[in-house]
C-alpha cells in the first residue's frame, strides 16, 4: 500500500531525487558538533511559537478595552489556555536564548566565513526579527509593564537623528502609546513578521542545504579521513530527541512558573517601582540607566542609541569585515571582541536584574 502510494507520487513528482539528496546529506563530527544542535532547537521553538500563536489568536482581541480582558479570559476561563499562553511566552524566551547561543557558536567557530556570508546575514536578520517579535508580542496583553516598556522602547527610536520623530510616530501610530500602537504591534506580530521571518528562514536553510555544514577553521587542510554521520537518520534522530527534551523543559516551565498577566495598563499612573524589560533587553536597559545625561555636546541616550545601531551594523556585515577567516586565518582580536561582547551582555544583564 505504502509502496503503491510512493510509486504514484514518484511518477508525478520525482521524489526519488529528493530522497537521494537527503541520503547523501551528512554532518561532520568534530569537537564542536554539539553546537550544530542549537540552530535546530531555534527552528523547533519557532514551530512551537507558530502553533501556540495560532491557538491564542482564536481568543485574543486587540484593543485597550479588550486586550487585557481577553488574555485574562484565556488564562482563567479557556481550558488549558494558561498552558498555551505560558508555553508561548516561555518558548519566545527560550527561542531568543537558543538563537543567541547559535549565533555565538557560529561567531567563535568563524562559520560565517566565505562562502557562507549570506547564511550569517540572514541569521542575524532573523535575530533582529526575533527581537521585534518579542517587543511587539510583549505589548499585546496591554499590562502596565508592557505599556512602559513600549513607551521607553519606542522613545529610544526618537533619539535617532533627523528621522527620530517620524520613526516614533510610525511605531506608535501617533505621538503617544495608545490603542493605535496596540493595533500596529498586533498587525506586525501576527501578520507582518511571521511571513518575513519564514522567508528568511527558508533562505537560511536553503543556503545550509546547498553548502553543507561548516567545519572548524583550518580543518579543511588536515590530513586523514573526515568523520561524518548521515543526516538521515542519525542526526535527525538526535535532533528529535533534543527537541523532545526542550519541549519537556518548556512544559515544566509553563506549569511550574506560570507567566503572569500583571496589572492592566493605565496611561495616567506612574511607572511602577522595579520595572524591568525582558531579560534579552536588560543589557540595553542597564546601559541606558548608566549613561550620563550628557556626553560632551550630545545627550547620553542619543549616543547610546547610535552606538547600538553601529553595533548592529557591524554584526550584520561581520563576514565581509573579517576577510582573514575566509582565507583560513583566525584573527585573535576578534575572539577578544567576542568574549568582551559576551561578557558585556552577561554582566549588564545580571546588573540589570540585581539593581533596582
Amino acid at each position: 500500500m505504502i509502496d503503491k502510494l510512493y510509486n504514484w507520487m514518484d511518477k508525478r513528482y520525482k521524489i526519488e531525487q529528493l530522497l537521494y539528496f537527503s541520503k547523501e546529506k551528512s554532518v561532520p563530527i568534530h569537537h564542536g558538533t554539539m553546537w550544530y544542535y542549537f540552530g535546530g532547537i531555534t527552528l523547533f521553538l519557532f514551530g512551537v511559537q507558530v502553533i501556540t500563536g495560532l491557538f491564542l489568536l482564536f481568543y485574543y482581541r486587540p484593543g485597550p478595552d479588550a486586550s487585557f480582558e481577553s488574555v485574562k479570559f484565556i488564562i482563567t476561563q479557556v481550558k488549558f489556555g494558561w498552558l498555551l499562553r505560558g508555553i508561548h511566552s516561555w518558548s519566545a524566551n527560550l527561542m531568543v536564548l537558543a538563537a543567541l547561543i547559535h549565533m555565538f557558536s557560529v561567531f567563535f567557530h568563524r562559520s560565517y566565513r566565505g562562502p557562507r556570508e549570506l547564511t550569517w546575514v540572514t541569521g542575524v536578520a532573523m535575530l533582529f526579527l526575533l527581537m521585534a517579535f518579542g517587543f511587539s508580542g510583549y505589548l499585546l496583553p496591554w499590562n502596565e509593564l508592557a505599556f512602559f516598556a513600549t513607551k521607553v522602547g519606542t522613545d529610544s527610536a526618537r533619539q535617532v537623528p533627523l528621522i527620530g520623530d517620524f520613526l516614533l510616530k510610525l511605531m506608535r501610530g501617533g505621538s503617544d502609546v495608545t490603542g493605535a500602537t496596540l493595533s500596529r504591534f498586533f498587525g506586525l506580530h501576527v501578520s507582518v513578521l511571521p511571513p518575513v521571518f519564514t522567508m528568511l528562514l527558508g533562505l537560511h536553510l536553503f543556503f545550509v542545504q546547498v553548502q553543507g555544514m561548516s567545519e572548524p577553521l583550518g580543518s579543511e587542510n588536515q590530513p586523514g579521513k573526515k568523520r561524518t554521520m548521515p543526516f538521515l537518520p542519525d542526526f535527525l534522530l538526535r535532533d528529535l530527541l533534543i527537541w523532545l527534551v526542550v519541549l519537556d523543559i518548556l512544559i515544566l516551565l509553563a506549569v511550574f512558573f506560570p507567566w503572569e498577566l500583571g496589572v492592566k495598563a493605565d496611561p495616567f499612573t506612574p511607572a511602577p517601582a522595579g520595572i524591568k524589560p525582558e531579560w534579552y533587553f536588560l543589557f540595553v536597559f542597564q546601559s541606558l540607566k548608566m549613561l550620563p545625561p550628557h556626553i560632551g555636546p550630545f545627550e547620553g541616550e542619543v549616543l547610546g542609541v547610535l552606538a547600538m545601531g553601529l553595533g548592529a551594523t557591524v554584526l550584520v556585515l561581520l563576514p565581509f569585515l573579517d576577510r582573514a577567516s575566509s582565507e583560513g586565518r583566525r584573527t585573535r582580536l576578534l575572539d577578544v571582541i567576542g568574549v568582551f561582547g559576551l561578557a558585556y551582555f552577561a554582566v549588564f544583564t545580571v546588573l540589570g536584574y540585581l539593581i533596582d
Binding site: 513607551k151 495616567f268 506612574p270 511607572a271 540607566k289 545625561p293 545627550e299
Partner: protein, 155 residues
Amino acid sequence: MATLEQPDPARRKFLDLFLAGSGLAALAGLAYPILRFFTPPHQEEAVVSSVNLGPVKDFPLNSGKIFRFGNKPGIIIRSSDGKFRAFSATCTHLDCIVQYDGKAGDIWCACHGGRYDINGQNISGPPPRPLDAFSVNILPESEEILVTLSTGDKA
C-alpha cells in the same frame, strides 16, 4: 528572406536605461502611498490650557498625584509646607511617568532611576532636562486648585 539585423548598441542601451528608469519610477510611485499610509494622520487634539483639580483638602501634605492635562499626564505635589507645585509627569529621559517620592521629598522615575528636585530640576540619573512646569493657582471662592500652562509654554 529577411535577415536578423544586429541590434543597434546605442538603441539597446537607451531601451535598457528607459526600462530601468520606468521600473524605478513605478517602485517610487508604489512606495510613496505606502509610506504615507503608515504615517498616522495628524489628529486635532482638544487644546487644554487649564484644568481644575478640585478642592485643596483632597491633597494631603507631602504627597503627589497624577492628573490628566489634555491627553498628557501631569503631576501635582503638595509639599510638607503645604505649597503646591505642578509639572508635566513625562520623564524627559525616555517618556516614562514620574512619581513623587515622599521619603526623599523629590520626584522619581521608576524606569531608569532618574530624579528631579521639588522644583522639577533634574538632579541625578539619566534625565537630560528639567520637567516642564505648570502654574498652580488656588481659586479664592471655592478653594479649588487650578493648574494652567505657564506663560511661554506651548499647548
